[in-house]
């Protein structure tokens, strides 16, 4: 698991961690049931305070991305509907991006693209 912390980012460190772990889960890099490093180990590895990794794990747990078993550690959770939805949405975003790039290449303006999408969506 790779996590890159920026000290100059406006985004708080715990959020940088949650976001990066989330995207690893959503991208499938971290599979269901994979054990995560203990929050103390992670704090040491990232050279940050324990309370920061603790908060990151708590937020991930609250959002249903991971679960913890006392004495055993934290694991990637079975993904719930909301996560899958988020995951799908990400894929859609990526696909739309590809569409936008293609459209720009041929100079297709936004309003025409929107019309096209509307027609196709209503079919």
């Amino acid at each position: 698991m790779q996590i890159i912390i920026s000290n100059s980012s406006k985004e708080p460190i715990y959020e940088q961690i949650t976001n990066q772990i989330k995207s690893s889960i959503l991208s499938g890099e971290l599979q269901e049931g994979t054990s995560l490093p203990s929050m103390r180990q992670l704090a040491k590895d990232l050279q940050i305070s324990v309370i920061t990794t603790k908060r990151a794990y708590e937020e991930l747990e609250k959002a249903g991305f991971i679960y913890s078993i006392v004495g055993k550690g934290s694991f990637v959770a079975e993904q719930n509907l909301e996560i899958i939805r988020e995951k799908k949405q990400r894929v859609i975003e990526e696909q739309l991006n590809a569409v936008i790039i293609n459209s720009r290449e041929i100079g297709l303006p936004l309003d025409e693209l929107q019309q096209l999408l509307e027609i196709l969506y209503k079919e």
Binding site: P12, K44, Q47, S49, V50, T52
Partner: protein
């Protein structure tokens, strides 16, 4: 046991200086940084934690025990690391070990030798030939060799070069892998704390200004910059202290939500470092 150290309403009066009604709790399993300017009362507070000084009023409890009846038990469980060498300078580490070890029931010789090796400390050279960093390591090796649950350090990084400071911080983080261990250390080098501290206690002129998690500190406090004409008697109340310049003002707030409500997007808000916080609180002296 959630709090390893509890100071309850502790006061101590000296000529020209006093500690006033300090309530301080140190949480088990975390690193608490104790900050304050020189002469703010950091060392006095630590001495009271160590029972080297008795408070005039209030209670001091360690591991839920008081010193009156449990002094020996408490001391067994604390590792104290001073900023300077407290051992006889002419002695070598081997001699010091021979003197110190019998004082602790839980002294672990194997562990001691592991740390000596890890820290690359010579056993047969007298302490006076040690560099400041080596003295610090020696002191830490001894504290760790009797399985101290609470490590109290008074200015451990003062006078150390940046490379050794980082090494020490890395070492402290390694110690924190064991979730039962607690570290409490005073410092005025606040960048050390930005890295590893979980909780920050800030003392000024003998009074505790705050003691909270590093998250609460970063969420509550912020540096605010904006045009001078935004300030008036009401809006200024949102700030701990305001610094005015012909080009605009810069101020510290302890209530970021309020500042957002009052000023919205008309000001720039930035994260306040611990140093910023100390500086602006100090500035308050002349204006309160």
């Amino acid at each position: 046991m959630e709090n390893v150290v509890e100071l309850i309403n502790v006061s101590k009066k000296f000529k020209g200086f006093s500690i006033k009604n300090i309530d301080l709790h140190v949480k088990q399993g975390f690193v608490t940084g104790f900050i304050g300017a020189n002469g703010a009362g950091k060392s006095t507070t630590i001495k009271m934690m160590m029972n080297l000084l008795r408070p005039d009023a209030g209670e001091v409890k360690l591991f839920g025990l008081d010193y009156q009846t449990n002094e020996k038990d408490i001391k067994e469980r604390i590792g104290f690391v001073y900023d300077s060498n407290v051992f006889f300078e002419g002695l070598n580490l081997k001699d010091i070990k021979r003197i110190v070890a019998p004082a602790y029931r839980r002294w672990d010789d194997t562990l001691f030798h592991q740390y000596v090796e890890k820290f690359e400390l010579p056993l047969n050279k007298s302490i006076k030939t040690f560099s400041k960093g080596m003295q610090m390591k020696a002191s830490l090796a001894i504290a760790l060799s009797h399985h101290a649950e609470l490590i109290i350090m008074d200015e451990p990084t003062a006078g150390l070069d940046p490379i050794f400071r980082r090494e020490l911080l890395g070492l402290l983080q390694e110690l924190m892998l064991d979730g039962t261990r607690t570290i409490f250390f005073s410092t005025h080098i606040t960048t050390d704390l930005d890295r590893i501290a979980d909780y920050i206690a800030f003392i000024q002129r003998g009074e505790l200004v705050f003691s909270k998690s590093i998250h609460d500190v970063t969420e509550d406090y912020a540096l605010v910059k904006g045009r001078i004409d935004l300030l008036d008697r009401d809006t200024e109340k949102a700030f701990v202290h305001v610094h005015r310049a012909p080009t605009g003002f810069e101020a510290l707030t302890d209530n970021t939500t309020e500042v957002k409500e009052i000023f919205g997007d008309t000001v720039v808000m930035e994260r306040a470092s611990l140093e910023d916080i100390m500086y602006y609180f100090k500035g308050g002296i002349h204006h309160v």
